[in-house]
């Protein structure tokens, strides 16, 4: 279960309302290892009075991306109904209401909760539209004291934002307890919001979506053009705007509009831009509600057995083959917003007509919706997956320039933009990141206790050492962080070189090393481009050198005389996984997708992954003994290129050891990893070298039989069989005998041997090439 540096007093949670949000919140509580009671209404039909809540859990077990991090987590959800089981909320320390957005129904539920809940337990609503003051109207003072709004984003497991609204009567201790819990246990970043309509993210997000749709219709911009201009260049999700609407559901748009227009003041800018397009209304009417419906602004047409991506023509309303307009080039394509909005023609026009008003609107809600610009930026980055927050974008454009353009276009200029003048919203002063406050002064961006970010370290210091692919940073208390800096954090000889330099350096001047970075993923593995290049010119000795070089570097880390802790998050694949396996310990973010995926590109793990995987399974006391079980299990996992879908699952598959830690909040990962490393410093001894007693050719014969059976079933291609047999050769110890003992060096040699045979195989080379070109494995 996830480790945390501080305990809270919330030991059981009740979620009322088993819709997408309520059920998802309950799942995330369970993911944190906390028991949760999930209640919903008694269905009108049927004998099972818990059917609604039970059905929600059953559905979540089949949903992808999965709301649960493991099957074990699902068992922590107890289901029930609000007629028979409401009294059970007395056992819960926090009650989350996530029922239908209707004030009367919510108020009715709260009045019932008043009777059954234990005084002092927190009660919160997941409302996204109803003001707190209205929700608690008529409730006792005690209830008001314990009440707050906790606004999660969909899906609750994956979206990191939570907006918290405390009312004038909310007890500070209760609010603090909930904040602590959602931060440390549920892994959310808390943004304090005021009790204003739509809070922060949805208010800006809805405006942005509306403005982008309006502008596309008004300027005659196609769906693909809009997404190309408004997607990557602006740093919003790569789906682009229309792709995003398809994802969240087109039918949700009128609901969002209705709720905001009914609650926002009449003079709010959103009221002027809110409009519905007849074409979109017709789409909803006909069931074209996006990915969940018959199609949306995009659809995949499978007629005639093919698979054609089509886009909606906003003029005719018909589907046609999706185009790739290729309009945005130069600096604008790389995210230079000033260039983007200055481009001549429809690219610049559209970009400006979306960005200008959206940034102006975002700037106008401080401090009405949240006290600081940081709150708005965090909300948009974590709640809408924007790469940069609105104020970060304004800084990139230049506030003064933006104001000029806004005035030219006759768009409103909010006071804070005037106030900042030709300064920026963020600055670094003595290495400290500061933001521009509504008081006209700069204030430090404060990190909560237990949050340590490499980006902050980088502001105050120079790397201890660095090269083109990696850097070493002093993160304090005698701990060094090894950061990968290449594209996609790919691993190459430079990384290995820096590791070899780090070992003597840390040994003489520091206490421990943490492998960590703040890219979008920990590492996607070895640099395949370099590998392909070497293969193309048949530089086999170079390839072998790089395999052996990686092995040597990873083993140098493993046997270094100081603790090494890897802190993976996101994807940790291939060599990215192997560095974790070779570390003394792992502190993983809960959302870690780790795996040895080499077989997908026709090779096998070559940097010690094979031996490390076997060791992990051999050490597992719950796994059977003998020469085969650990080998079979490792073979099963590696031959199928298994990538686990959470850190919890990584434990089940042996990528994580049971003593390895899991951090729920991404921002706390480095701190937790550092603490883990420091905790190992006293009396640290490097691990003893493992010895392997492996089955040899007899075991390989057994695995071969299994592979052939997969092949017969049509589940493994011819080349899968070739690769799997090489993997079997390594994992069973080559030509060893069960009574012989193999050393780690023997295992590494076997890896090199098999690896080198495979890279010379043209079919493996095709796989590498295909992966580089398409990002997907080739099944040849």
């Amino acid at each position: 279960m996830p480790e945390n540096t501080q305990t809270t007093t919330i030991n059981k949670v009740c979620v009322i309302g088993a819709g997408t949000m309520g059920a998802g919140i309950a799942a995330q509580v369970a993911n944190a290892g906390i028991p949760v009671l999930l209640l919903d209404i008694v269905p009108k039909d049927g004998d099972n009075r818990n059917a609604v809540a039970e059905g929600a859990v059953a559905k979540m077990l089949k949903t992808q991306p999965a709301p649960f991090m493991s099957k074990r987590a699902a068992k922590l959800v107890e289901t029930g109904n609000i007629e028979d089981h409401l009294d059970k909320v007395a056992e819960c320390d926090w009650i989350v209401e996530a029922i239908i957005e209707r004030l009367d129904i919510k108020q009715d539920l709260y009045s019932k909760l008043e009777e059954v809940r234990t005084a002092g337990t927190a009660v919160s609503s997941n409302t996204s539209t109803i003001p707190l003051a209205q929700l608690t109207d008529g409730r006792s003072d005690a209830f008001k004291n314990d009440f707050l709004i906790t606004h999660f984003f969909n899906p609750p497991r994956y979206m990191r934002l939570i907006e918290i609204v405390a009312g004038p009567h909310s007890d500070a201790g209760t609010v603090e307890m909930v904040k602590e819990f959602v931060d440390r246990k549920l892994g959310k970043t808390v943004v304090d919001a005021e009790d204003s309509p739509g809070f922060i993210a949805n208010r800006v997000g809805t405006f942005w979506i509306q403005q982008a749709v309006n502008s596309a219709f008004d300027l005659g911009i196609s769906v693909e053009e809009a997404d190309e201009i408004g997607g990557r260049p602006m740093g919003v999700p790569k789906t682009g705007l229309f792709g995003l609407i398809d994802l969240i559901g087109i039918d949700l748009m009128p609901h969002l509009m209705k709720s905001l227009t009914s609650t926002l003041p009449k003079d709010d800018w959103y009221q002027q831009i809110a409009r519905s397009e007849p074409m979109i209304e017709a789409m909803i009417e006909e069931g074209y509600t996006g990915r969940k419906g018959k199609g949306g602004f995009y659809r995949i047409n499978r007629e005639g057995g093919g698979k054609v991506k089509e886009a909606k023509d906003l003029k005719s309303g018909e589907y046609r083959a999706a185009a790739r307009p290729g309009l945005v080039r130069g600096p604008a394509a790389k995210g230079d917003l000033k260039s983007l909005i200055s481009m001549k023609g429809k690219v610049g026009d559209y970009a400006w007509s979306v960005l200008g008003p959206t940034l102006s609107y975002a700037a106008s809600i401080v401090p009405e919706a949240t006290a600081t610009v940081v709150g708005v930026d965090d909300a948009m980055k974590l709640g809408y997956n924007w790469k940069r927050g609105p104020f970060e974008m304004i800084d990139a454009i230049g506030a003064a320039h933006l104001v000029e353009r806004l005035k030219e276009s006759d768009y409103p200029v909010p006071p804070i933009l005037e106030q900042v003048g030709d300064k920026t919203f963020y600055r670094v002063e003595d290495g400290q990141l500061q933001y521009f406050g509504t008081d006209g002064q700069y204030h430090d961006v404060e990190r909560p206790e237990g949050v340590l970010l490499l980006e902050d370290v980088k502001r105050t210091s120079e790397p201890v050492s660095k090269n083109g692919s990696a850097a070493l940073w002093d993160i304090g208390d005698g701990v060094v962080a090894l950061e990968f800096t290449g594209k996609m954090n790919a691993l190459d000889e430079q990384v290995m070189k820096l590791i070899q330099q780090a070992v003597p350096l840390v040994k003489s001047d520091y206490k421990a090393l943490v492998v960590y970075n703040e890219g979008s993923n920990f590492s996607a593995g070895a640099n395949l481009g370099l590998a392909m290049f070497a293969m193309n010119i048949a530089a086999w000795s170079e390839v072998e050198k790089s395999v052996r070089g990686g092995q040597a570097a990873y083993k140098a880390l493993k046997y270094a005389p100081f603790p090494v802790v890897s802190a993976p998050f996101g994807m940790a694949l291939g060599g990215g996984c192997e560095i974790c396996l070779n570390s003394d310990a792992i502190q993983a973010h809960a959302e870690t997708y780790i795996g040895l995926v080499e077989t997908g590109v026709g090779i096998i793990p070559g940097w010690g992954g094979c031996g490390e995987m076997i060791s992990r399974w051999q050490e597992n006391p719950r796994h059977p003994n003998g020469p085969m079980p650990a080998v079979s299990k490792s073979f099963e996992i590696i031959s199928t290129a298994t990538v686990v879908k959470s850190a919890a699952e990584a434990k089940e598959y042996g990528f994580l050891h049971h003593k390895d830690g899991i951090t729920m909040n991404r921002d706390r990962l480095l701190y937790d990893a550092k603490q883990k490393a420091l905790s190992m410093v006293d009396g640290y001894e490097a691990p003893e070298k493992p010895e392997y007693r492996l089955p040899g050719p007899s075991g390989a014969a057994a695995l071969k039989l299994a592979v052939e059976s997969f092949h017969n079933r049509g589940m493994a291609t011819e080349h899968d069989v070739t690769v799997a047999e090489e993997l079997a050769y390594v994992l069973t110890g080559g030509n060893t005998d069960p009574i012989d003992v193999l050393s780690e060096a023997d295992m590494l040699n076997l890896e090199v041997e098999a690896f080198m045979r495979l890279v010379r195989n043209p079919k493996s080379q095709l796989r590498v090439e295909h992966m580089l070109e398409t990002g997907k494995p080739l099944r040849n």
Partner: protein, 378 residues
Amino acid sequence: MSDVVIAGYVRSPFHLAYKGALAKVRPDDLAANTIRGLIEKTGVKAEDIEDIVMGCAFPEGEQGFNIARLVGLLADLPISVGGMTVNRFCGSSMSSIHYAAGQIAMGAGEVFICAGVEGMSRVPMTGFNPMPNPELAKSSAAYLGMGDTAENVAKKYDISREEQEAFAVRSQQKAGKALENDAFADEIIPFTLPDGTVVDKDGTPRPTTTAEDLAGLKLAFDENGTVTAGTSSPLTDGASAVLVCSEEYAKANGLTVMARIKSMAISGCAPEIMGIGPVGASQKALERAGLSIDDMDVIELNEAFSSQSIATIRDLGANEDKVNLDGGAIAIGHPLGATGARIVGKAASLLQREGGKYSLSTQCIGGGQGIATILEKA
């Protein structure tokens, strides 16, 4: 020399491996409970028992350490009762009956418990440490997966997927009818789980299975083949036990003599079509008994797969109406080591119920063998 008789037959409930009610039950506990049930049901004097001969196809892990001896201790049998584990894969517990019959005939004991067990949830098929001889694995089909052999038989005998599915549906329907008539109540020894739940019925049969259901299943072993999970016996947890003794002893001690062992046989066949093993073994046993297949009133044929069952029936010239009256392993399940004793015990009890004279119990064995036992109603 005395005739050897079957004087009692019981089994545990059969449940699907991993997901069934017995998945968390140790096989030795399950077998011990079944054996206690046999002793109580038959009234045999425990101190007279010479040996427990226990069939088990993968005698390791919780089925290891000579499980037969341990089961005797678990069942509180007198210390004097021996225990021996026999492995002939699926033929294991039928072999334990053959062994006992031989011992009795030689005067090396009068009463034997011939049992079988397989906790397939607990010890995987192939065991925990499969380490085939690499050379033999290359040169022969000795280690070929059972599903692949079923495909080979289907091809060799030109048995269509539809024929296999029709056979499987009949097996399920026969088991369903037997359930309706409570025909298994007599043979099942209930097992009480630690939480107090009493498991007294099979979890395996799916009597409502239709040909359409089966037609929708994916091919299980060969993408171009015909065999599915629906035409294969399922992985099963279960135990069985038969009381084998001399006819003199049975009569002297007031035991119910169900049937006399008339003849027995083993016969090898090509490993890649192990499913036709019953043909050679049955022909041998019939010849030894001086009988023909038409003389058989009851035939218990283990249904490892539909394809091998159909091929066997065809080659033996057997009448399917006499085969597996209460359903076969496709419906009831196939806990490898336990099946042999089940189908001999079942044949003995069917002879009593149906009133025929002779029965044949026969099964196929991985690696390429068949085993057969002919009983004569006492």
